[in-house]
C-alpha cells in the first residue's frame, strides 16, 4: 500500500481497541522470566559454548603480534579467533569502524579476539592470557582541540540559510550569543549486546538483541562475506537499545566466528565496559547559538552552529536540525562541522540531533526571553510558526506546540515562577523551568503478514522489534481493530528475519510505521475474505468476530475456512512528508531543588505535555515518555562519558562511573497527551512519542536550576562543582 493522500475515515477510527489503555500483552512473560532474551535462548538439545571478547588495550595503532598459545591451552578452551587470523571479512554499511578489526586498531576496546570455552568463566579467564604487542600511534581525542581542523560533513545537509542573518542580528535590539556544550553519552541500556550463533553447513542462525533485523542481517552478511539469504536472525525480546542496537555489533560477529572455529553454537555477551568503548555512543557537541529579537519578543534572527567529532568515515551529531523548524524568524542560518576523533564510534542515541540540540537551544530561548523580559512560555508562544520557516509554502501537517505550552502551564501552576534565586524552603533553593519538546516524525517502509485461521485466530508476523516499547501490544491492537476481533484473538510474532521486513525500532518511527504495515496487511486480508465470500467491498464490515455485508454475516473462522487466509503487504510512503512538515511537539515543566550548601540538584516534579498524533495506547506511550524524561534527568544532572584525552578512551565505562538516574532521583512524573490525530502521518493518524519525551527535558531542568539559583550553566551535565561557586556563601 502506498500512503500518498491524507487518511480519511478507516476502521482504526472505531477505537474499540486502538487508543485503549491495554497493559502490554507480553508483560506476563517478562514479569515471570519467560520472555527469552538473546543470551538466555535455550534448547536442551543444543550445548552452547561461551565466547568472551578481547578488546584493544590502546586507542590507535597497530597490532604487532598476538600470542595465543597460553590461552589455547587454558582449561576448557575450544577455540581462539583473533583479528589477525579470522579470515576474510568486510565492514558493514552501517558501521564506521570494523567490528572485528584487522591489525589496525581504530579505537579503544575494538574487538581483536574472541576466546571460546566450555564455560563463561573459562573463556573470560583465558582471554586475559592472550599477549598482544602493539605499536601505539598518536590519536585525536580532544574535541575542542580537533575543532581547529574540523570540516563540513559530507553526507548530511550541513548548512542552511534564509534571509540575512548577520544583518538582522546586528540590527536586533536584544541579542544573545552563547556557547553550550553537551558531553558524550552512553546508551547504557539494561541488557548488554548479546548473541548466540549456530552454523549448519553454510547457514547461520543468530539469536541476538537488535532493533533493526534487516539492517543487522545485511551487515552481518557483508561482514562475514556471505549470502544474506543464508542468515536467519531472531530477536524476539530486547532489553532496551536506545539506538545502541540499531546497527550490527561485535557480539554477533564474534559469536559467528567463534562458532565456526569451535564447531559449536557460541554465545557472546559484551561485558559492561564494552558497551561504552566497544559500541557506539552519542557524540559530544560544541554549540554556538545566536538569537536576535525585537522588544516585543519576536525573533528576527536565529543561528545555530554545532561541532562534533567522529572516527574517519563517521558523521556529525546533527544538533542544529530542530532550529530550522521550531521557531519563526525571517533571518536564519545553521551550520555543522565535523572533527576527526579517534574515540569509539559516535552514532545515534535516542533522539539523535534533537536531544543535544534542544539541550542547548532551549536554554538559549530561556535566556533571550529573560533578556527581552517576557515569560518563557509566552516567548515560545509568540514565536510559534505553523509553516516551515525556511519554506513558508510548506505547512506543518499538524502542530500544537502552543496547546502543549498552555495546558502544561495551567496544570503545572506555571505562573508561580518567581525571580531567579527567590524561592527557598529550608536549605533548598527552589526553581521551575520550561522547555519545548520537538522531534520530527519519520516514517519507514514496513511490511507484515497477517493470517486468519480456521479457529478465528489472527496471527501477525513482521520483523518489527519490541525494545521494551510495547510493539507487541500496539500491533495486536491494530490487527484486532482492523479484523474486528478482541485482542485476545490476536497472536503477534516479531523480530524474525523470516518475517516481512518492517520499519524496525528507531527514530521514533517504529510505532506509527509498523502498525501502518500491519494495517496494510490487514486491508489485504480483509479484501481476500471479502472476495472469497463474494461480499460487496463497499459495505463490508468486520466487527465482533464476524464479517458482515448487507444482511449476510458470518463468523470469521467460518469465513476463511479450515485453511485460513493470509494478507501480506508493505506500507510505503508517498510525498506527504515532503509537502508537509511532520513533527511532534511537547512542553516540559520541571521543578527542582538545589541544596544551597552543596549544590546538589534534585528533581521535585516533572510534567510533560505531548502532541504526537493519535496515541495508540496511553499506557505504553506514557511508559515511553516517563522513561525518556528519566533519561533527560540523567542528561541534565549526571551523565557524561569522561574522555581521557591522553589515552583516548572513555574512562568511566561502567554503571558505577557513568551515573544514570536511580529511583531516588525521580520522585514525581506526570504525562498528558493532547487529544489529536494527524491524517497526514499515516492511516493510523499516529506519530512517534518515544524520543519526543526526551527532547527538551534537560534544558527544562537547566532552566529550573537557573531559576532556583540565579546561576546559568551552559555545560552539561549540571553537576554541583559547576554550581557551588555561584551559590551564596556559607555562614
Amino acid at each position: 500500500m502506498q500512503f500518498d493522500t491524507p487518511a480519511t475515515t478507516n476502521p482504526i477510527d472505531r477505537l474499540k481497541v486502538i487508543g485503549r489503555p491495554i497493559p502490554r500483552i507480553d508483560g506476563q512473560l517478562k514479569t515471570t522470566g519467560r520472555a527469552m532474551y538473546a543470551y538466555e535462548w535455550h534448547d536442551s538439545n543444543v550445548r552452547c559454548a561461551y565466547g568472551y571478547p578481547l578488546g584493544a588495550a590502546i586507542a590507535k595503532g597497530r597490532i604487532k603480534s598476538m600470542d595465543i598459545s597460553a590461552a589455547k591451552k587454558a582449561p576448557g578452551v575450544l577455540a581462539v579467533v583473533t583479528a589477525l587470523d579470522a579470515g576474510k571479512r568486510k565492514k558493514g554499511k552501517y558501521n564506521t569502524a570494523n567490528l572485528f578489526g584487522g591489525d589496525e586498531v581504530q579505537h579503544y576496546h575494538q574487538a581483536i579476539a574472541v576466546v571460546v570455552a566450555e564455560t563463561f568463566e573459562q573463556a573470560r579467564a583465558a582471554s586475559v592470557l592472550i599477549k598482544v604487542a602493539y605499536t601505539e600511534e598518536k590519536g585525536s581525542f580532544d574535541l575542542k582541540a580537533a575543532m581547529d581542523t574540523a570540516v563540513k560533513p559530507e553526507s548530511e545537509q550541513p548548512d542552511s540559510a534564509v534571509g540575512d542573518f548577520e544583518g538582522a542580528f546586528r540590527a536586533a535590539p536584544v541579542v544573545l550569543d552563547e556557547t553550550y556544550t553537551t558531553p558524550d553519552q552512553s546508551h547504557s541500556m539494561m541488557e548488554p549486546h548479546a548473541s548466540i550463533a549456530a552454523w549448519d553447513g553454510d547457514e547461520l542462525t543468530v539469536w541476538t538483541s537488535s532493533q533493526m533485523i534487516d539492517w543487522w542481517r545485511s551487515d552481518l552478511a557483508t561482514t562475514l562475506d556471505m549470502d544474506k539469504e543464508k542468515i536467519h536472525l531472531m530477536s524476539p525480546f530486547i532489553g532496551g537499545g536506545f539506538g545502541g542496537k540499531l546497527f550490527l555489533r561485535a557480539d554477533a560477529v564474534l559469536a559467528a566466528f567463534g562458532a565456526r572455529a569451535a564447531k559449536r553454537p557460541v554465545k557472546v555477551a559484551l561485558p559492561r565496559p564494552f558497551l561504552v568503548n566497544n559500541t557506539t555512543h552519542r557524540p559530544a557537541t560544541l554549540q554556538r547559538i545566536r538569537i536576535g529579537a525585537e522588544r516585543n519578543g519576536k525573533i528576527t534572527a536565529i543561528a545555530h552552529e554545532s561541532g562534533s567529532g567522529d572516527l574517519p568515515g563517521g558523521g556529525p551529531e546533527t544538533a542544529v536540525m530542530q532550529t530550522r523548524l521550531l521557531y519563526a524568524g525571517a533571518n536564519r542560518m545553521t551550520a555543522m562541522l565535523l572533527a576527526t576523533l579517534d574515540l569509539p564510534e559516535g552514532n545515534a542515541m535516542r533522539a539523535p540531533g534533537e536531544a543535544p540540540g534542544l539541550m542547548a537551544l532551549e536554554i538559549a530561548i530561556d535566556e533571550i526571553a529573560e533578556r527581552v523580559g517576557i515569560d518563557p512560555v509566552q516567548f515560545r508562544i509568540i514565536n510559534d510558526t505553523q509553516v516551515d520557516p525556511e519554506k513558508p509554502e510548506r505547512p506543518f501537517s499538524h502542530r500544537d506546540l502552543i496547546g502543549c505550552l498552555k495546558l502544561g502551564a495551567e496544570r503545572f501552576g506555571w505562573e508561580g515562577q518567581g525571580r531567579p534565586g527567590s524561592r527557598r524552603e529550608g536549605s533548598w533553593l527552589i526553581g521551575t523551568g520550561v522547555a519545548a519538546a520537538f522531534r520530527n516524525n519519520l516514517v519507514m517502509p514496513s511490511g507484515a503478514k497477517v493470517r486468519l485461521d480456521g479457529e478465528g485466530v489472527v496471527t501477525v508476523e513482521t520483523d518489527m522489534t519490541d525494545i521494551g516499547t510495547g510493539s507487541y501490544t500496539i500491533i495486536a491492537q491494530t490487527a484486532a481493530e482492523m479484523m474486528g476481533v478482541t485482542i485476545d484473538r490476536v497472536s503477534v510474532h516479531l523480530g524474525d528475519s523470516r518475517f516481512p521486513v518492517s520499519a524496525g525500532s528507531g527514530g521514533q518511527f517504529g510505532a506509527n510505521s509498523a502498525t501502518s504495515g500491519v494495517y496494510a496487511a490487514c486491508v489485504k486480508l480483509r479484501e481476500a475474505i471479502t472476495q472469497k465470500l463474494g461480499f460487496n467491498s463497499d459495505d463490508v464490515v468486520f466487527e465482533n468476530g464476524e464479517v458482515r455485508s448487507g444482511n449476510r454475516s458470518l463468523p470469521l473462522a467460518e469465513a476463511v475456512g479450515p485453511h485460513g487466509l493470509v494478507g501480506e503487504d508493505t506500507m510505503k510512503w508517498g510525498d506527504l512528508s515532503k509537502t508537509h512538515q511532520q513533527s511532534t511537539f511537547g512542553a516540559h515543566f520541571v521543578e527542582v531543588g538545589v541544596d544551597v550548601d552543596t549544590g546538589e540538584s534534585r528533581i521535585r516534579r516533572m510534567l510533560a505535555v505531548c502532541a504526537a498524533g493519535r496515541i495508540l495506547n496511553p499506557i505504553t506511550a506514557r511508559s515511553q515518555v516517563i522513561g525518556a524524561m528519566t533519561m533527560g534527568v540523567g542528561a541534565a544532572l549526571s551523565e557524561e562519558l569522561a574522555v581521557d584525552t591522553r589515552r583516548g578512551y572513555f574512562v568511566n565505562h561502567d554503571l558505577a562511573g557513568y551515573e544514570v538516574p536511580v529511583h531516588a532521583d525521580i520522585p514525581h512524573q506526570e504525562v498528558i497527551f493532547m487529544d489529536e490525530t494527524d491524517p497526514m502521518s499515516s492511516p493510523m493518524k499516529a506519530k512517534g512519542v518515544g524520543e519526543l519525551g526526551l527532547c527538551g527535558v534537560a534544558a527544562a531542568i537547566a532552566n529550573a536550576i537557573y531559576n532556583a539559583t540565579g546561576v546559568r550553566i551552559r555545560h552539561y551535565p549540571i553537576t554541583l562543582d559547576k554550581l557551588i561557586g555561584g551559590l551564596p556563601e556559607v555562614t
Binding site: D597, T598, V643, D644, R646, V651, D721, V730, T731
Partner: protein
C-alpha cells in the same frame, strides 16, 4: 577470574595461620568487593579462606560501656541495631548512605573497612596504576580525577578510600581488634589502620600479611548530635564526592571526619577544636595541605560548605 582453591575456616587462629603462610591467600567475607575485583583480575588470589562461619556476627556490650561489633556483622544488621541507632546514630546513618540494600545485606564490617578504591584507572587493567601494578605510574594524575583525593596524596597515587562506614568509625574513634598469623592479638586505633599512599599505594593498611580482623570496638557513647552528610551527584547508589561525619555537642564542640577526600577517612584532631568557630576555621585546619588536580578543586570548597550545613543542622 583465575581459578582458586577454597576453604571454610574452622577457627580464627587457623584462618590467620593459613593466610599468613600463603601469600596467595585472601579472606572472603561478603565478597561484594573481592569478587568484583577477582572477575576483573585486579585481585588474583589462588586461595580463598571463607570466614563467614566463625561466629563473628554478634554485637555485644563491652565492660567499658561501649560496643564490640563482630567483624562479620552485616552492614544491614549493624545499621539496624537498636543500640547503634540510639547511641551511635552516626554509624547507622553512614551505613545506610552506602551501596544498596542488597549489597548491605552481604557486606561485612571488616570487608567494608578493607574495601578498595573506586579509582576508574585502578579498575581498568589496560591502564597504568601504581596501586594495582606498583611502578607502572598513576593514570589519574593528569587524567580524569574529579573523584580523587585532595589531601594526603602523593606523586604515586591520589586515590580515595570509598567507605562511608569508615568515616563514622573514625569520628567515633573505633578500635580494630585483630589476630596475626602467629596467633597473637592486637588492637589498632582506626586512625592508624589505613595508610596514606606515599610511595607504596598498594599497601593500604598496617595489617600484616594474613592478619585477620575479628571485631571493631566502639568506646562509650559520646552523646551529642550525630550527623552524616553524604554529597553525591545522584540521590542514591553513588560513592561520596565528599561526606562529613560529625558528632556535635549542644555547646558547639565536637568532632568531625571527612570522606571522599583522602586515602583514608580524614580527621585532624586539631580541627575538631575549631568546630565552635565554624566551618571555615575548621576546614582551614582539616585541609591545611590540600592539593587538587584542578578537576577536583571543588572538593575543597565542598568540604567547607558541607561542614557548614552540618554545623547548622546540629544547631537546628
Amino acid at each position: 577470574m583465575r581459578p582458586f582453591t577454597y576453604e571454610r575456616a574452622s577457627s580464627i587462629e587457623a584462618a590467620a595461620k593459613v593466610a599468613a603462610s600463603n601469600s596467595q591467600a585472601k579472606f572472603i567475607a561478603g565478597g561484594t568487593n573481592l569478587l568484583d575485583l577477582m572477575k576483573l583480575e585486579i585481585e588474583t588470589p589462588a586461595h580463598l579462606i571463607d570466614v563467614n562461619d566463625l561466629g563473628l556476627d554478634k554485637i555485644e556490650a563491652t565492660s567499658e560501656g561501649g560496643l564490640r561489633i563482630g567483624a562479620l556483622v552485616r552492614n544491614t544488621d549493624l545499621a539496624a541495631d537498636e543500640t547503634v541507632r540510639r547511641d551511635y546514630g552516626l554509624l547507622s546513618r553512614a551505613l545506610v548512605a552506602g551501596a544498596s540494600g542488597q549489597l548491605r545485606n552481604k557486606a561485612t564490617t571488616a570487608g567494608n573497612l578493607l574495601q578498595r578504591t573506586r579509582c576508574p584507572y585502578f579498575y581498568d587493567t589496560n591502564q597504568p596504576c601504581n596501586k594495582r601494578q606498583p611502578g607502572s605510574g598513576c593514570s589519574a594524575i593528569g587524567g580524569f580525577s574529579r573523584q580523587h583525593a585532595v589531601i594526603g596524596t602523593s606523586d604515586a597515587c591520589i586515590a580515595t578510600h570509598p567507605s562511608d562506614m569508615a568515616v563514622a568509625l573514625r569520628t567515633l574513634d573505633a578500635t580494630i581488634e585483630s589476630v596475626k598469623g602467629d596467633g597473637s592479638r592486637r588492637s589498632i586505633p582506626i586512625a592508624d589502620l589505613h595508610r596514606l599512599p606515599g610511595d607504596t599505594p598498594e599497601i593500604e593498611t598496617v595489617l600484616e600479611p594474613g592478619e585477620f580482623i575479628t571485631a571493631v570496638l566502639l568506646p562509650r557513647p559520646l552523646g551529642g548530635k550525630h550527623i552524616y552528610r553524604k554529597v553525591r551527584d545522584r540521590a542514591s547508589y553513588a560513592f561520596a564526592l565528599v561526606s562529613v561525619g560529625a558528632v556535635i555537642q549542644p555547646d558547639g564542640t565536637g568532632r568531625v571526619a571527612v570522606g571522599g577526600i583522602a586515602h583514608k577517612p580524614w580527621r585532624v584532631e586539631a580541627a575538631d577544636t575549631e568546630l565552635p568557630n565554624g566551618a571555615r576555621a575548621t576546614s582551614r585546619v582539616l585541609l591545611a595541605d590540600a592539593r587538587s588536580t584542578g578537576q577536583n578543586r571543588f572538593k575543597i570548597d565542598l568540604v567547607e560548605r558541607t561542614l557548614g550545613a552540618v554545623i547548622a543542622a546540629a544547631k537546628g
